[in-house]
Symmetry: C2
Subunit: 247 residues, 2 copies
DNA sequence: TACACAGTTTCATAGAATGAAACGAGGGAA
DNA sequence: TTCCCTCGTTTCATTCTATGAAACTGTGTA
């Protein structure tokens, strides 16, 4: 209980204001105040500061706030030359062309996963994958890969998180992860999203540590369980090669 | 002098810390403190807050700080469906294929310009253009377009900015902008960067207001003044069509 | 062993961030 | 028109919070 905070409250609040802009791109001042539970005048000052530094701007037409271009500038400096999302892009495109479905790359960020790269299927009916989205670690093929092939402490922390859904029974889930680690890949069928399915395999770097999860996803009527198992070998092999490519 | 500040100091400082990560992606704590002119312990607290919210992370190997994936998440929500950088991408690719050089899209952000979209030339020797970079409004073809075709108050503000270089004489520059407005396009030859040249034309929306500058750039031995003038008509026409496409 | 340097923690104090309240400015509705 | 209702802005007294000096830890190096 005595969790000594070494953080700055005003900054925390400002970052919470910024984080509002994930999911909804246009916010009014009072709307944000209600969302975070702060007083209007506080939010007003925070937004003024964020605007001054170019992190948010006001849409001239609607008078509402949206993200500023400083975010774009920062995101340009997010990845280095040796970043998986850059290095592995050609391999992902090759796999997409081979299988014909959308290919994504996920990494774990605390108790969530983030899609750091995606190449879209060119098929008419396809899964559209946005780079940058955050998804829970409790469901989905690549979630299970990210938990199965990392240190056990990682999955323990994830399952201890308050966001962990009670519907996912922990002991059963752990057994599932054990199977996946043996088999070398994970699948999901209409698990997180109705009508969608995915196969995922671990990308393990030269040091032997898990780096990311490679996932192939598509509509569940094309990616039936049988089809997914047919693709599994190719996906695992691609993931293995990608791991070797990393420093 | 009595400029009443309506901003929050702690937040300003935190955002300045974040802004350090444009240009250099790895920083140590003391390094940042020296850069911004703050005490170590202050920066320590700010970084702890930024890290807590996922805006920065510590590189496990180097123990230094780098940007966190929350920035990626925010940048995913930066653009809407009607965003020029999304809507105009196909047109930009078409122009790139027609001319064979890198095509960029710039917008003005206060007294700077930002490259919000780019499609690369496939030629071996080419200009590589990073999306998100900030450049001065005082030099370069698209700078001149952004100032020539916007409200005169914009160019006045830009020239009054302390960052405006003394080497660019103001009255001469204004005359140059007048010529560009008549001609309909601007060029630059080894102006900002040695060995590089560019042609730029304004993208004007249906409302008649300047939205962005379209630029074609490449090595100055390929994009000679003559070649650039030959391309000008096609670029202006492409920009005109792109303007019509916007809401 | 001593030194230098990066990061962490503590703590008294100043002053900065806060939020209640009042204010101004549209925008509908009647 | 007039009357709300809501949104954003500004003010200001109060207190709690951010601050920075200093001490401390740890790691690498001369």
């Amino acid at each position: 209980m005595e969790e000594e905070k070494r953080t700055v409250r005003a900054v925390e609040r400002a970052l919470d204001v910024l984080s509002c802009f994930t999911g909804k791109s246009e916010w009014g001042l009072s709307e944000i105040a209600a969302q975070i539970g702060l007083h209007k005048s506080t939010v007003h000052r925070l937004l003024a500061t964020l605007e001054d530094r170019g992190f948010v701007i006001r849409d001239e037409a609607t008078e509402k706030y949206r993200l500023g271009l400083r975010i774009l500038e920062l995101s340009a400096n997010l990845s280095r030359e040796d970043d998986p999302s850059v290095v592995l892009l050609p391999d992902m495109e090759r796999l997409r062309d081979e299988i014909g479905e959308t290919v994504s790359l996920y990494v774990r960020d605390r108790n969530e996963r983030v899609r750091i790269q995606a190449v879209q299927s060119s098929q008419a009916i396809r899964r559209v994958a946005t780079v940058g989205v955050r998804l829970p670690l409790s469901v989905g093929a690549s979630s299970k890969v990210l938990l199965a092939f990392d240190d056990p402490s990682v999955r323990n922390a994830a399952m201890a998180d308050p966001s962990w859904p009670a519907s996912v029974e922990k002991d059963k889930f752990i057994r599932q992860l054990d199977e996946i680690r043996e088999r070398g890949y994970a699948t999901s069928f209409e698990e997180r999203e109705p009508g969608a399915a995915a196969v995922s395999a671990p990308i393990i770097g030269r040091s032997g540590k898990l780096v990311a999860a490679l996932a192939v996803s598509g509509p569940s009527n094309r990616l039936t369980p049988d089809v997914m198992h047919d693709h599994a070998a190719a996906i695992m092999e691609a993931a293995r090669r990608m791991g070797q490519r990393l420093g």
